[in-house]
């Protein structure tokens, strides 16, 4: 990916993870793709993390090259296995070590570090590969009747321990067969898919709608989370995910038209109308349930016309964070329409990004300093517009006008293109660094414009309480009333427990700051302790009455998911109940 090192180069693992290896499970995505830091970044990291070349001469943990072989028995009876085989077919029930491990963890650093520590804590007893919604309905019924915990693995990119089968039982691996198109409706601009449909397969389908469905044109869903390549439609929906283009396309909560669930009390089908005045909104009740009310089987998504030829890329540099936030707010409130990607980096992230894009090796770096856009004060703002030609051009024109008014200097579309090149593959770099005990992870929250500066300050302060740490922040997923703040930290850290303690300190800070504890990552089991404290006790109880209705025996994604069966003592209430 970059020029050869002049000095010492660590033995970055550049080969594909061996098939059937642990590494093939915990490593991100495409086994043949590798990303490692260029020399300048490597030097910078050593400096910040107080590490030396010696730290990069041996791997810091088990990099997982062995074949998976576990000594963890499957505790499911032959009778149950026979029943499950009868539902899905003999070939589609597995108790093999590799299959079980491959659906046990998500992608938070806590998961990856545990695997590198050989801590294989929670495995399903069996993995089932359903083919149809009817099969899932039968499985849910069987598990309910027989009190078997049921988990779902969609794409596996959860960073909240959302998929982890902490009570054992069965995990449905949706990747193999539950990934089909059910129907495409060009008149209504919708597509109905099975919940295991992957992001890339969905986009490929929509972009080839002319060939596949005889459609008049190509479409897009507009949902591109960073995890896009290894995420599933079902995962997007049940966690209320958002893609990087959500400022224009909306979060998945805006994109979903209809959902179908297999729940312990039977099938639940929501409305397929864009708006209605028929009581509480069932679509918005089911989204966010994260598998605790039942298994999402089919989803109807709104699709949009794909017109990449109209895209206008932009990037600007602002003198400081406060001014840049003001400019962003003005762009979101001026009624000109919204950009698609709309992302503002704070000074520390700007420093890192400009290095990643090799701007530090160009005269621009100095030029910026000299013209008053000083390193560690300046803020990078980038993105692009989508939509019909005139719409897209008008949004870009207004962004340009406002950026200029707030002292922004255009960096042309180069920086945005650099960002686009790397937008889905940062997780690969993370794996490479982790081999040497350098851990990267992220946390994010929603803020209003009026508390954005305060939350940014408060949360970063806690992140930086860990010395020798890079903490970068950006604002993205914007609204006229606020935005998402996204925190990324990179630090020398090689222990799952150490990570968990750090993660906890940051979530504590987010809850104390008053921000919403997740804008789009969801809650899972890892964020659950903070949920009731954020939502409010009386308000949170609503989730529990819904759970009691759909899954009274608590077999659906049990073990603390969205806090429903979380022990009282694990809950964290850190904000004064001012809401009361």
């Amino acid at each position: 990916m970059s020029k050869p090192y002049k000095g010492f180069e660590p033995k970055w693992i550049k080969t594909a993870a061996p098939k059937d290896s642990y590494r093939s499970i915990f490593r991100w995505g495409d086994p043949d793709f590798v990303k490692y830091p260029k020399e300048g970044l490597y030097k910078m990291m050593k400096e910040i993390f107080k590490m030396t070349d010696d730290d990069f001469k041996q791997y810091a943990n088990d990099v997982g090259l062995d074949s998976v072989s576990l000594d963890i028995p499957s505790n499911i009876s032959e009778e149950h296995l026979t029943a499950l085989r009868k539902i899905v077919g003999d070939a589609y029930v597995s108790t093999g070590d590799y299959d079980r491990l491959s659906v046990a963890y998500g992608k938070t650093a806590y998961d990856l570090l545990r695997m590198r520590e050989n801590r294989y804590e929670n495995l399903p007893d069996a993995v089932v590969y359903p083919d149809t919604a009817e099969q899932v309905e039968q499985i849910v019924k069987y598990c309910t009747d027989n009190n078997i915990p049921l988990y779902v693995y969609g794409g596996g990119s959860s960073v909240t321990r959302g998929v982890e089968p902490v009570k054992g039982g069965i995990s449905l691996d949706m990747r193999l067969r539950f990934n089909k198109v059910i129907s495409f409706n060009e008149t209504d601009q919708t597509i109905t898919v099975q919940a295991g449909m992957s992001g890339p397969k969905l986009e490929e389908t929509l972009q080839n709608a002319e060939t596949l469905f005889g459609a008049k044109r190509a479409y897009t869903c507009g949902h591109f989370p960073q995890s896009f390549e290894y995420s599933s439609v079902g995962g997007w929906v049940v966690t209320r995910g958002a893609g990087q283009n959500s400022t224009y396309y909306g979060t998945i909560a805006d994109i979903v038209l209809q959902q179908k669930y297999a729940t312990p009390i039977g099938k639940i089908v929501t409305s397929h109308y864009p708006r209605e005045a028929t009581g509480p909104d069932l679509n918005q009740i089911m989204m966010g349930s994260e598998g605790t009310f039942g298994v999402l089987t089919e989803v109807t998504l709104k699709v949009r016309r794909r017109m990449p030829e109209n895209r206008k890329r932009f990037s600007y540099i602002f003198k400081d964070w406060e001014t840049a936030m003001e400019a962003g707010r003005e762009m979101m409130q001026c009624e000109c329409g919204f950009a698609s990607v709309f992302r503002l980096s704070d000074p520390e992230e700007t420093n890192l990004m400009l290095r990643l894009y090799n701007v530090d090796e160009t005269p621009l770096w100095q030029l910026l300093d000299v013209t008053g856009y000083k390193d560690m004060e300046r803020c990078l703002f980038l993105g692009f517009t989508d939509g019909e030609k005139g719409f897209s051009a008008n949004v870009a024109k207004n962004i340009k006008r406002i950026a200029k008014r707030y002292g922004g200097m255009s960096l042309t579309s180069f920086v945005c293109k650099s960002w686009e090149k790397g937008r889905f593959n940062d997780p690969y770099l993370r794996d490479t660094l982790m081999d040497f005990g350098v851990t990267t992870d992220t946390l994010e929250c929603t803020v209003n414009w009026s508390n954005m500066a305060q939350v940014h300050r408060d949360v970063r302060k806690v992140c930086h309480a860990l010395p020798n740490t890079i903490v970068t922040t950006h604002m993205s997923h914007c609204y006229p009333q606020g935005a998402n703040l996204y925190f990324i930290f990179i630090t020398k850290m090689n222990s799952a427990d150490e990570f968990k303690a750090y993660h906890t300190s940051i979530l504590d800070a987010i809850q104390k700051s008053g921000a919403a504890i997740s804008h789009h990552h969801g809650i899972g089991k890892m964020f659950a302790p903070w949920l009731e404290g954020y939502i409010g006790q009386r308000e949170y109880e609503v989730f529990r009455v819904l759970k009691n209705y759909f899954d009274p025996k608590y077999n659906m994604n049990p073990g603390g998911t969205i806090g429903l069966d979380l022990p009282e003592e694990e809950k964290r209430f850190l904000i004064p109940k001012e809401k009361e």
Copy 2:
């Protein structure tokens, strides 16, 4: 409003309704405003309704000029009254006939006809005028502790019997005092108001934000239902209302940021962030509860910059309904941004509207016929754009381009301006006609583009099963996936029971057609029998478990509202349970 009649003119009641009269209660809004048909329309109606001048020589029912004096005792104990007076102040609890009657009915023809028949069926025992959210919380607690039914009257424009106190008890009249601004936040572009805030007062406040709050500019909420002048923010929210400009501004479900409720189990406060991934969406659970979970006390609304100078008005005439729907769909799906008002009339409505706007008295009427836009085939499409200048212009430009492609002929902005002039005062005309036994009412539903033609045909067929009836339909409140279909009928009808039977036959047709039984009128008590059949039984039960949580004693808006305490035998299930 129009030229003097040349022939016989009925004795339209043009004077203000006497203060304290029945008429002042059942008549729409401003007592000094009157609207009556021009001579051409009067003639047309006589023809269609098979009526003669003789039918217009005497009033057909009790036009309500007497002072209110009822013989219906208030069944509330002095002890309760004392307790309530202690909460709100002595002057703010009333058991007077006028006060009780004035909050007992909404504005469906069923309400108006019952009043004209002197059928005063359901009155509250007392009316309470709260001042603060804390008072409402105390009242809810008191009513819960003492098993007193509690109703809320916001603006009174309900057409679903939503406000009717069918179990007696207490009605909160929000108009007098519960209409204050709590706070205005220009940074986040939000305003927080008490739920009794009226539409006009809200807009006046926002449009004068510079003076009132020292804001930088004027704002608007963008929510203008036809009932605007006599509707309340609380009513909009709990029923999931939509304004005529919702294609751009969204329905109230999109405009609300945060809600505060006083429920029997205590105060419920929802999130104030635009999006989050923290479980089911509590804002969308509370909206649509129509007072059955508790009383909405405060609402935070998103506000928008008011820039009427950028508005572009348009109107086009299309040759037929099918082509016009296609054009509308293309406009909504082309990704150019949305118009604010976006309204397409079917042939029968087009005929009536062109008459209302006096086009039948101009050469245009003939010209249209001659050029292939034939009466009773042609469809009128009108609206205007809002937003930033370039955005607004781009939307209008695309609408023009698409209209042209589908054979639309521009009628300039004149027709749209005529529509705007009458947009809020059609209800006055309704009252005037009702004095002579001519009844007007509306029903509406949500459709997708793919079933729009079928629903339009099926529902109109049932509407027209009543002979001598004008039935007009328009598509409005549009989305890329569908729209609202709005049916208006005008007929010779002078009996509440006859109206109810007709209304039932239309709702049956809507449910059978598969459309959503309400896009923005809500459910109330009148539409409740159809709700479970539409939502699905297992899905509907979710509403009941929420009710059981918030109001286990069923004292909040009891008597069938959104079907929660509706007797099984009153429910209507008319569609095959294909969802199952």
